[in-house]
Symmetry: D2
Subunit: 348 residues, 4 copies
């Protein structure tokens, strides 16, 4: 019998992507979907996915999600961080397991919520409990988790690009990342700034040195490296709808060769269904991944030990809803790739 | 000495285009510019054009525009139709001449304002007085006008494509126009509907059979033809920032040949600086005109007398601000092409 | 056991789309794929679809396709018209059933091949035999066919938009269609004309009054109407990768109301899995269909009986590879929607 | 009397841009233009600029350019590097002054031509003589030069971003640059790789750690710094037609503050007509510069002395043809901004 899942916040771009993936998933059922924007509309009409439910308002959806008679095993939150911050403890208190796609429970150090999320975090115990759901790096902890914090889109790309190499890097040198994201990363919004006329033909950086994924990346890489890791992170807004490309620069430790790098990546990702190693840094493109749950990684090593590692993902899939499905599958004891392996690239 | 001009409503896409054109115009001076959005900011900082003025709030701008000491000869309104509807009589009452870029004074029959502009028109006498400023068709009336109604963007393209042929058409057959416009045609706005994600990769029709330029086109063509003209008009929203392409279908009267059509166009537009006749319907593209004040027109005639005439313009230039400059030049007795002939195509 | 299928010409945009659909199809197996461009490369590496075969050169692929030991039941040709023209009789002679995605066998009147395809057709008997594979209009004939001519992309959209209404139209008035297509419709090609710089921001018409889909549409609609049908067809090239929008104009016969039109569409398409009726002409957009096998149709009726019907499809799916899969399913006695119903929109 | 100028290689994107700028320049005259692609066509028809000449084939153009009777003072080469390599000494031998827009004479160390241009350089003496035409850094040398090597597009943006800061940087730390360019940077070409379908919605890096502008940047910055400078340079191909954004990372020397950085930029570029300092790194966008000869620069300084400097230019203007016009003006003793100050942004 199919596991029943609730989605709260189903009308953002991430929420719609998540809804479609859940509806197409062979082993789960979308039992509850909330959207204050689309209350009472049919999920099928809005997403094209053959779901039988209609959108509930938030309050009704929460009630349904925790109702024992409805039997929702897992509640997935595609809500903004401040909403997730409030909802997570309420859902856990009702015995629900939660996958939160916002940043509200990703960081262990609550100070970053003040500095990077304008949020005074009130549930510090849960920050310690939450499992950071990047399966390729922390898979074993996801299955039994009560609360999974689904990683950020940039953070996913950068950590997958760099984690296998941390032991090979000059520990004193800073890692520098320039990342470029499609505009769905900013969410569905009515804004002149994100209008077609303002975005088409343009490129600009934003939140330079102050993006909330910077501490998230540093925290994740430090957990892998067993030491602190220092990142300079500059995100850019790209005139495409979907996709992230992260170009990461680091300095190899003396004596480390390109072969060592190749071996480290191969060791780390051999057998990973959702990481694809490219023959080179130039063979990594948004078109390779958009529509899929794959992270594609390529790299180059310069004569002076400088490393360039480039990762591409679909920000809405591997960077959000698809990775949440990986986590869902792990939590439910399903095959990790269920509902994800058949996704096709949108590139013609 | 340079003529002093005021622009009211200078922060929309049309207003910015108009501002830049005026600042670059050799014989006029931008004396007043209003923008409630950008009050007190420098025009140069917002537009890149080396103007010395700062944006005034609407009330202050109106006061300045009518102040005899300021000596503004002409006030140009790039305001929405309902604002223009109110402002025009006030400005005329102060002795100012006005070019209104909105639709508020384009239609002679006030009934269309109720049906197509949701506007109960209160200045019917001015509808009779206003001169429709499409110089290629009605040049002689523009020069002495007190009030010029600057044509709509679609209306400009369609009338220029069809006016020379009206005498050659089967008067009983309907003219059908499918027109496609870039999104600046909708103005500067914060709207999910016009966000990059919603527009890129998309195409859709809007206001099918109910666009406000339909009666405007019918009125203009009827004035040329000396009989009523019946148009079916379907506008489409295109994933480009600027440009209109109008594909117009009509039936030639029996016995009319392609040579007759060629001759009619040649006769109509020989010597026109801003109409370019293309060798065929397939040689008319947005890239030919974007950035310029040109209307490019090409046509094909089928074996059964079916005519296809295609016109392309930049909706912000020949479709709005550039044409307004033509009218300004005519009203001031300047060379009609002043400030317009040197505009270059944006196409690389 | 899965039916074995060969694809000849697998590296064009249509060929890749077809390959992906076949690989994901639950009841068939991609047994042979040819591409002179990608000989010996793995299909999986090129398409992302988990196929086990490698591309064969044309000659080897043809041999494999007709080899009794390989047991290919149906050969699908995604080759240019001149190649299909030659290949079809050879494949039929070997007892293979064929679905041809080119135009080589769509038209019954061979004269059109000279005028519209620069092709002197040498297999006129097969033109009479070929079944035009537009299932929603001619489903019954597809199942038993030996040779199915898969419809053109524009032709699919226009016929689906107009076929249900033919009995309601003024038979004397011409139908006018302006259609806009994404650039994948032109195929994969190295050409300055289709470079990003030349296409982005542009729109232009092409093959005005001389596109090869015009006789195809007239033939199909005549077959439905039982009388000749006269179409004026103007295709336009759109700055998007995928998708066709066809805006169709016709004149309703006297006394025909909007309700009659609604009823005709409802009668024609009730129960059709791949036709979606929109609430209005303005609710039909490329975003609704890109990535899916759906044709979405909306319409408006003017006060003078003028009808505007707008249809949108994905040119590579319902306009090519997806429709070919419908035909394949019908020929093999499978569910018509197999491998097609789960396709999701690419729109975020 | 206007100075007469010849342009060789006038049909690439750079050549067309240069042609338009020359035609609009108040003090020079386009006397000769070559294009093997457009021989005998009118320059006006191809560029929209009111020139009176027609394109000559290369041989005829060279003859005209050196003909004393024609009086061309300066020959501008918008040819590929291998063509410029051959043409420059021939033109100099005839007493012509030359501005070469290719890379053929930019590098002093001929070894880089083998490694980065696949060119065995045969005119090493000219490498020593050529003046690197980046006026903001090396203005004094341009005026009297016989041969000016016009800088590369990326190289212009990166050098302008970093040159003022070299004395403030930790000399031991590597500079890292990720730069993103629109596709006109690759030139006009018939190529599947640059087709709309392959570029739209995509982003990828290319020539990672091996782009020919890397040694050019290192040479230029070393000349300013008076020491060697080590750059890691990764260019990316962006789905826009025009524009470059270069995001540059460097480490400030201990004790250097943000105020020191601000002061250095202000000192370097106060009075420069074509460098615009932005209030921050996030206020630098392609839209600010496309169509103009401006380089816009913004920066941020992190808590640990990490510097991010972002520069944007139009690759065809300040990155090629516009900068060539600056050099031309300097060589002719004209005002450096002649023909350049009035250029307007293409952003609506």
């Amino acid at each position: 019998m199919k596991k029943r899942i609730a989605v709260i916040g189903a009308s953002g771009y991430t929420g719609v992507e998540l809804t479609r993936l859940l509806v197409a998933h062979p082993d789960v059922e979308l039992a509850v979907a909330s959207s204050d924007r689309w209350v009472s509309e049919s999920v099928e009409a809005r997403t094209g996915a053959p779901a039988s439910v209609r959108y509930l308002a938030l309050a009704a959806a929460l009630e349904a999600a925790v109702d024992p008679a409805r039997g929702c095993e897992i509640v997935m939150l595609a809500t903004p961080a401040d909403a997730s911050h409030e909802l997570v403890p309420r859902l856990l208190a009702h015995g629900r397991r939660v996958i939160d796609l916002s940043g509200a429970y990703r960081l262990r150090d609550a100070a970053f919520y003040a500095s990077h999320y304008a949020l005074s975090h009130g549930h510090i115990g849960l920050l310690a409990e939450a499992v950071y759901g990047l399966p390729e790096l922390f898979r074993a902890r996801v299955g039994p988790a009560r609360l999974v914090a689904n990683p950020g889109c940039y953070a996913t790309a950068v950590q997958l690009a760099l984690a296998p190499l941390l032991a090979l890097l000059d520990a004193d040198s800073r890692i520098i990342v320039d990342a470029m994201s499609g505009v769905t990363g900013a969410g569905r919004k009515a804004s002149e700034e994100f209008s077609f006329t303002e975005i088409a033909g343009d490129l600009r950086a934003y939140r330079v040195l102050r993006h909330q994924h910077e501490p998230e990346i540093e925290q994740g890489l430090a957990a892998v490296a067993g030491r602190s890791v220092d990142i300079t992170f500059v995100p850019h807004l790209l005139p495409v709808a979907r996709g992230i490309l992260a170009t990461c620069h680091a300095q190899l430790a003396p004596g480390i060769s390109r072969d060592d790098v190749n071996a480290a990546y191969d060791r780390a990702y051999r057998g990973e269904a959702f990481v694809a190693l490219a023959p080179g840094a130039e063979q990594v493109a948004l078109h390779d991944v958009v529509g899929t749950n794959r992270c594609r990684i390529g790299w180059a090593v310069g004569a002076r030990g400088e490393l360039v590692a480039i990762a591409a993902i679909d920000n809405l899939v591997k960077g959000a809803a698809g990775q949440a499905l990986q986590n869902l599958n792990l939590m439910l004891g399903l095959d990790e790739g269920a509902g994800l392996l058949g996704l096709r690239s949108f590139h013609p």
